[in-house]
Each structure stands twice: as C-alpha cells, then as structure tokens.
C-alpha cells in the first residue's frame, strides 16, 4: 500500500465511485460500460455525472445484453483498452457466463500469452435489501472454481478502493463483487490518492484466541458485531476478512487456525459447494491435527435465494445474534 497522507470518510458506494473516477481521470484507456451507467449514473448513482465529464464514448450506456457487455469488453481489453464492465445486478450475470468463463478467463491461456484480457467486471450482489429471488443472489461460488479469473469481495470502504485499484491495474480479468447492503451502511476512512491492496490477501480485522471466524462481504460486519458481543462475555474470537475469493489467502487462515485451533466459516451464500467448502477442505488437508473441533460452516440454507416477503428474507439471512450463538457453541466445544 502506498503511503498516503490524508483520508476521508466514505461509504462503500462513494469508495467505488471515487476509485472509478480516479481511474477515468488517470488513464483514457479506461472505459466504463453497462446498463444505465450513463445519464442515470448507474442504478446506485455510482457513476453519476461521469458521462458529462468523460463523454458517452467512455461511459457507455449499453443495450440490455449482458453476454455482449462482457464480450465487447473482452474485445476492448484484447485490443489495448482497459474496460470496466458493469452488470447491473449480479443476478443478471448468468447470460454473460460464457464470456466470463469460456472467454475472458481463457484468453491469455488459450493464446499462450499472445493476447491478454485486462478486464474488470463489477457487480452488486447479496441480500438483506428486500431484493427477492432475483436482486439478492450471491454468485461467487459459481465462478471461484474457474482458473484464469480473480474474484474480490471487499467489505470496508478502504478495501473497496485499494482492491478496486488493484483490479483495474491487474493485467487479467477480475470479478469485483460489491455487497449492495454495505453500499450506504458501511462507512470508513479512505486514504486519498491512488493506492492498491494486493489481491489474494485476507485481513485479520479482529484478533482473538479461541476461535477463527472466516467471512467476507456484509457478514464480516455482522461477524465483528457478534465477536464483540462474545468479547463482552469473555470469549475471544478472531475474525478474518477474506477480501479476495480467488486467489484466497492460505497463510492468514492457517496461521489463525493454528493459533485458535477452531474454525467457523460464515457466508451469506448457501452452503453446499459454497466458498466455505474449499476453505474447510484446505484446512482439513493442511491443518487437520491442529483442530480441536470439527470445522463448521454457518451459511444460508440450500434454497435458490431469499424470498421477497420479509419472513423469507429474514429466514434466509443470518444475523449477528445467530452468528454469536454459533461462535459460542464453537468456543465452548
């Protein structure tokens, strides 16, 4: 991370906006494209007024056609531009799956390095916003298996900026996931100017000795809240914010687990085949005899997504209280 002198308080929306703005200012190869990113300035107003400042050639309101939003961005990237494609909601990334998994992820590999694909795909994901079945999903587990991609899911404004800068600077395709519930909810100090946080590095956001909790996105904040609660009960929980999902940070997880000897993985996405599976498997491979309790995954139930009706959303989502309970059980195991 570069040394920066000053900082200001931003929420996650503002952190994305500021980073994109600075990227547009810094390099005219940077192009933003997506649905309603122009005059509307994106549905969360992230790129508001960009079109006036940078022009419609650099801030492209695309037709509603996700496969080509990504596909055209891949072509731009292959020919020297630095596109940042937006998928309006993560739920609508499925039509672009072919271009992300079949094309972007394989451009460098299949051409033996002749062509590259420096592309960022940003998209808001996650629930707790009454988004119902199709404006709430988590998508990371549908992509994290794919060699050639990188996936980032920051939780804090300063990480949003540092990781988005790293994604934009990265010479390979990065899927950048923004939890929409954190957009305005989460505020924090953000350094001024350009700095990057390396992809693939987790962050210990709270130290503790009796249990390691690994999470990312919105749930990092709830896990922190739960861990504070446990602290007040005299129980010591370490919270690791994954930040990057591919690559994931083995060293940080293992050194935490080797210290606490217990691992609880928490994610909003459903459990079967989710990110937690790989984390658990990695620890079971590398640190089995350091474990004093079975690894536990606290995840969403295995249903397609949360329903629109409040009780359905509440049932799908976890809560700091539920997380605290899971932590208590693990610590006391």
């Amino acid at each position: 991370m570069a040394v920066t002198t000053s900082s200001k308080v931003l929420n996650n929306v503002e952190a994305v906006r500021e980073t994109l703005y600075e990227a547009m200012k810094a390099d005219d190869r940077t192009i933003i494209l997506g649905e309603d990113v122009g005059n509307r300035g994106n549905v969360f107003l992230i790129t508001k007024d960009f079109i006036n400042e940078f022009g419609p050639e650099r801030v492209i309101d695309t037709p509603i056609a996700e496969a080509s939003i990504v596909g055209i961005a891949v072509g731009m990237a292959m020919e020297g531009l630095r596109p940042i494609a937006e998928i309006q909601f993560a739920d609508f990334i499925y039509p672009a799956f072919n271009q992300i998994v079949g094309e972007a992820a394989k451009t460098r590999y299949r051409s033996n390095g002749e062509y590259t694909c420096p592309l960022v795909i940003r998209t808001p994901y996650g629930g707790g916003v009454r988004g119902a079945l199709s404006h709430s999903v988590s998508i990371e587990a549908l992509f994290y298996h794919v060699p050639g991609l990188k996936i980032v899911a920051p939780a804090f404004p300063a990480d949003v900026k540092g990781l988005l800068n790293a994604a934009i600077d990265d010479p390979d395709p990065v899927l950048f996931l923004e939890h929409k519930k954190t957009y305005r909810l989460i505020k924090g100090e953000v350094p001024e100017g350009h700095y990057t946080i390396p992809l693939g590095k987790a962050n210990v956001v709270k130290e503790g000795t009796q249990l390691t909790v690994v999470s990312y996105g919105l749930y990092v904040h709830w896990a922190l809240e739960a861990a504070q609660q446990l602290q007040s009960e005299g129980l010591s929980v370490e919270v690791v914010d994954l930040r990057s999902i591919r690559p994931m940070d083995k060293a940080t997880i293992l050194s935490s687990v080797e210290k606490t000897r217990k691992l609880l993985i928490i994610h909003e996405d459903n459990k079967f085949g989710g990110i937690g599976a790989e984390i658990s498997a990695m620890v079971a491979e590398e640190a089995l005899f350091h474990l004093d309790a079975p690894i536990r995954r606290h995840c969403a139930p295995d249903v397609p997504a949360m329903g629109y009706a409040l009780p359905l959303e509440e049932e799908y989502m976890s809560s700091p209280a539920e997380m605290a309970q899971a932590m208590r059980e693990m610590v006391k195991f």
Binding site: D36, G38, R40, A65, S68, D91, M306, G307, P311, L312
Partner: protein
Amino acid sequence: MAKTETKATSLERHGLTDEQLRQMFRNMLMQRQLDNRGFQLNRQGKVPFALGSEGHEALQAGAAMAFHRGKDILAPYYRDLGLALGIGLTPYEILLSLFARAADHNGGRQFPNHYSSKAAGLMSFSSILAAHIPHAVGAAYAIKYRKETERAVLVTCGDGTTSEGEWHESMNFAAIHKLPLVMLVENNEWAISTPLDKQMAQPEIWKRAAGYGMPGKRFNGFDPIATYGAVNEALERARSGGGPTLLEGTCYRYLAHSTDDNDMTYRTKEEVTEHRKDDPVPQFERSLLDARVMSIADVDAMKKDVLRETNDATDRAEAMPYPAASDLYTHLYEGAWQPWQ
C-alpha cells in the same frame, strides 16, 4: 366535456361489442388505480417496491381482449398489470403480490408484478429479462406438437429486452417451426434510463421480422382498439397454423421505471408532459363518450367502482398473513431432497 353533446361518432371497433369496449376501459382504469395504489403504499412505507404500467394501459387492455381464456397462454413481463387483469387475475391477486402475502401465487417469493397463474394460463417468469421468451416458444411448440388448434401463446417484452440474445434465438426458432406465437413488444421508448437510440440503431423493432421470415407489424399502442385489431389478427393467424408474428406497440412510460428510480436524472419534465397529451386513458374515455358507448354517468360510476374494488382488494390483501419462515424451504423439488442425502 362539451364533446359529449355532439353526435355519436362511429368507432373502428374490429368487431368489439360495446360490452367489450367497456371492459377494456375498465381494465385501463383499474390499471391506473392499481398503479397509483402501489406507489402510494410504497410512499406510506407499506411495501418496499412498486412498479407502474402507466402509459401501457391501452396496449395491455387491447391485447388482453384478444386473448382466449382457457385456451391461450400468456408469457408476460413485469410491466403487464393490464394483461394480467385482462386475462382474469383479480385486483386482489395483484395486491397479494404487492404485499408479498402467503396467498400470492408465488407465495410472496418474487417481486411484485411477477404474476403467475397456472389456472389462468399465465406462465411463471423471473426477473431476468428475455429469459421467459424461449419458455413461451417451448409452450407454443407443445401446443403445435399436440395439434391443439385454437390455441396460441402471447409473449411480451419491453423494447430494451429485444437486445438480449435470447430474444433473437427465440424469434428464430419460432419462425423455423411456424409456431403459434405472438411476440408483442411494448415499445415505451425507455429501458430504465436508456433511450431507444442507445438500445438500437434502427428504432422500428417490427422490421426485424422480415429477417426471421415472419410477418411484422407496428401499431399505435395508445389505441386499445387498434391494439386489439393487431393482436387479434396475429393470434388468429397463430391459432390457425399461420405461424408467429412480431408485433410492436408504441406507447410511453409516464412514471419512473419503479419506485426505486428517479426519472428526472435522465429525462425532462417537458418530455413527459409532451407525451401526456397522448395519455390513452382520457383519450379512450373521450372516444367512448363520443361514440355513445358510455355516458358521463357511466364513466363516473365505473371509476367509483374501480376505486371501491381497489380499496376492498387492498384491505383484504393487507389483512392476509405473510408466508411463514418455514415456507422458505418448500417447493424446491418434489419431495424433500437435500444436497447431502
């Protein structure tokens, strides 16, 4: 309303009876009332989200009138309140969806306006634009395969949705197999904030029909009778083995995209006001009065009745319970499958 004093004008009515014209008008009034109610409930904090079809009333009332209940299949999109009403869904059912109540067809799972009713022939759809269009094609294939003449599928989408690849694939397949399908595009000039000229270079969507080898037609979607005429003709052709049609109805979206949108970020009040001159609801009211299909008193009574029914449906729906937390787990598969058995 001096006009009502003049002689009755004759109406091009494509064979529609007075009663059908009144039904269409009532549908239009009901759409406007329910739109209003949704936005109102949203402002009151009673529902987190609502979405209006204002500007599409004539198009949807006219198209629905061509639908044969108990026979045809409708594969609509989220802006099709008037189509849902017109094929038989009740305001109460609409409000159950708005309030996300357990008794909603979707059990409160989906966003409002994502109607579905197997009984009414209304196919379930998701929020993913264009994804329902191949489903409509598959349903039309089933109809043709089973040699069920007198049946057809009416599928709708917005202008913006025609940009999706699945739209193209569906049109092409329907044409190859001469399926009983009518693709009705509701062209309201906007896709959220994206105007038509950023969505396509050539703005007459119906002209794409020739490329697929099917008939195409454009009509004034502010005119419910013209709409009925076009949709009826296309559905009749579909039902009798004549294959698919691409229809484009022109209209306008008067409201913001949804309660989450502020359309003043991308268009001017003047533009909207300009289009208000063509508002299909008062326009059709005038036509019916002019043609002596209804009197002013009839219209007033109908408006009152629509308001009464809306109020009644609102109260009844609001009083119904939410789904239970345990309902999150039902209807995933037939039977109780878990990923780890």
